[in-house]
């Protein structure tokens, strides 16, 4: 047998294989927390999740609580969870388009939730909306005024969800397209290249797909790709392992796992 990627001296792959960690902080820009209706998680509470993050060296997880996105747990309660793990947990404020008054109430508090709240989470399809629907205008304008990150759930049906049209309307917000419009790769490329240089592809569910990270790096450049896992849906070792398994340069890997986030949010957030 030839030399495996894990055996290449001095490589990131060798480092993770041998030590279980990398010599830089990793930022996971797409997480959740708590029980979810369609899946069983044994370790989905904050202590277990943070323990998992610490094992591999995730500096920050930015998450939206499952029960916030399903209307059971208000955003202010999630801030309190973050306060218990101030070194590791950051949150996206969940936006439910049906609850217009709650959106205004929460966003009025948003600045007081710093440094824990770093942006907004929007799931248009799950909430039976298109991103271009007027119910999102207030939240998107709020993010645009403050140049905030907005993590948007996307999948292969993204072209039918008014994503591109909406991205074009807001030049200042920082849009992270969760799951990279999974399967609609050319559409994802268009969203990055034909907007205002304010769109990144977030990798959740992509690491491990043979050849796809390579394809995306070729399409938009590693500078436009962020790491994420949907934690606790995906194991951090599987996902980081998937990035290191891709046939891309180590500069690309570093861009994806931490450099891009530090360029967007800085090192101290």
């Amino acid at each position: 047998m030839k030399e495996a990627i894990w055996e290449k001296k001095g490589s990131l792959a060798e480092q993770l294989w041998n030590t279980g960690k990398l010599d830089f902080p990793i930022y996971d820009m797409h997480g959740h927390m708590g029980p979810a209706y369609g899946i069983y998680f044994q370790n989905c509470m904050p202590a277990d999740m943070v323990a998992h993050m610490k094992r591999i060296g995730i500096k920050h997880l930015v998450f939206s609580h499952h029960e916030t996105l399903t209307g059971f747990k208000p955003n202010p309660e999630v801030v309190e969870i973050c306060r218990e793990y101030p070194e590791h947990l950051r949150m996206y404020a969940g936006i439910i388009p049906q609850r217009t008054e709650e959106i205004k109430r929460d966003l009025a508090l948003f600045d007081s939730w710093k440094p824990y709240a770093v942006g907004l989470k929007i799931l248009p399809i799950y909430h039976n909306h298109k991103l271009s629907d007027k119910e999102y205008d207030y939240a998107l304008s709020f993010a645009d005024e403050r140049a905030l990150p907005v993590l948007i759930h996307t999948w292969g049906n993204a072209p039918e969800c008014g994503i591109y049209e909406t991205l074009c309307k807001y030049p200042n917000a920082k849009f992270f397209l969760a799951h990279c419009c999974f399967g609609a790769w050319e559409y994802a490329e268009r969203c990055v290249k034909e907007t205002h240089n304010n769109v990144w592809l977030e990798l959740t569910a992509v690491p491990g797909e043979r050849g796809i990270i390579e394809k995306l790096v070729g399409m938009v450049g590693s500078e436009k790709i962020l790491f994420g896992t949907d934690l606790p849906w995906f194991d951090e070792y599987q996902a980081v392992g998937g990035v290191l398994s891709a046939d891309i340069t180590e500069d690309d890997m570093r861009n994806i796992l931490y450099r891009n986030v530090e360029n967007i949010l800085g090192k101290d957030w």
């Binding site: 495996a4 990627i5 069983y40 998680f41 995906f234």
Partner: protein
């Protein structure tokens, strides 16, 4: 890698109208990630058991280092499309085929005892592993199948999505002691350690689901599952190796 050996239970090669990797590409990827061996089935079983059985045997022969072990697809007993069990298993051994699978929904038969009982009973008696990769999201049919064939050694190699399906799979692990769970696509945080602690590391088997997924992501998940080295080694290669060695072909 010297510290840990991997034997991949879930690889497919050949056909699917000639866009899929063949032997050389699989071996190249195994090298890239340091996977020593792989249990490999044909990508186009759905297009026909007999031609795919024949072709997977040819592709396994192209591997001159004996790193690949093939999988053959069975068919119903009554139509005589495959030889009787003893002869079928003899041919398997001659062709370096170590396990069987089935594709009842695409081959249009009902996977019940009065349809495939002769070969399934013979496989159970000889402890020949049965790879289950035809039941994606067909949980009722999979439960029926396991009720029908509780004594067979079955390895679930579905990867029917990459969202954990504990609610569906745990009842099978609870009920059938010969039911083994392939890790491909089961990527839940800490999931492998949790399953191994509940059911024993002996019940889990590393698989990549090549060519859809690469080998490396799952290898890293297994290695850093949080289990002790002995358990990790069993999941990575030991369990599959034991099952194949225990089969009496």
């Amino acid at each position: 890698m010297k510290d840990l050996h991997f034997f991949d239970a879930n690889c497919r090669i050949g056909n699917d109208l000639d866009i899929m990797p063949k032997t050389a590409e699989l071996l190249s990827d195994l090298d890239r990630y340091g996977v020593e061996r792989a249990l490999v089935r044909h990508n186009a079983i759905r297009w026909g058991a007999l031609p795919s059985n024949s072709q997977i045997a040819e592709m396994v022969r192209e591997d001159t280092e004996n790193r690949l072990v093939g999988v053959w697809c069975i068919m119903p007993d009554s139509c005589g499309e495959i030889p009787p069990p003893d002869q079928f298993f003899k041919l398997m051994k001659e062709n370096r085929i170590g396990a069987i699978t089935l594709s009842p929904f695409e081959h249009r038969y009902v996977p019940r005892h009065n349809v495939i009982g002769k070969i399934m009973d013979a496989a159970a008696e000889r402890k020949i592993p049965v790879l289950l990769d035809a039941f994606a999201e067909k949980w009722n049919q999979l439960y029926d199948f396991m009720e029908e064939f509780p004594k067979n050694t079955c390895i679930y190699t579905e990867a029917c999505g990459k969202w954990g399906y504990d609610r569906q799979i745990r009842p099978l692990l609870d009920t059938y002691e010969n039911f083994y769970f392939g890790t491909a696509g089961y990527w839940v945080q800490d999931g492998l350690a949790i399953l191994a602690k509940k059911y024993g590391a002996e019940r889990l088997i590393y698989g990549s689901n090549f060519p859809r997924y690469n080998h490396g992501c799952g290898m890293m998940q297994v290695k850093y599952s949080g289990l002790d080295h002995e358990s990790v080694a069993k999941i990575a290669a030991g369990n599959l190796d034991s099952l194949l060695k225990g089969a009496q072909l």
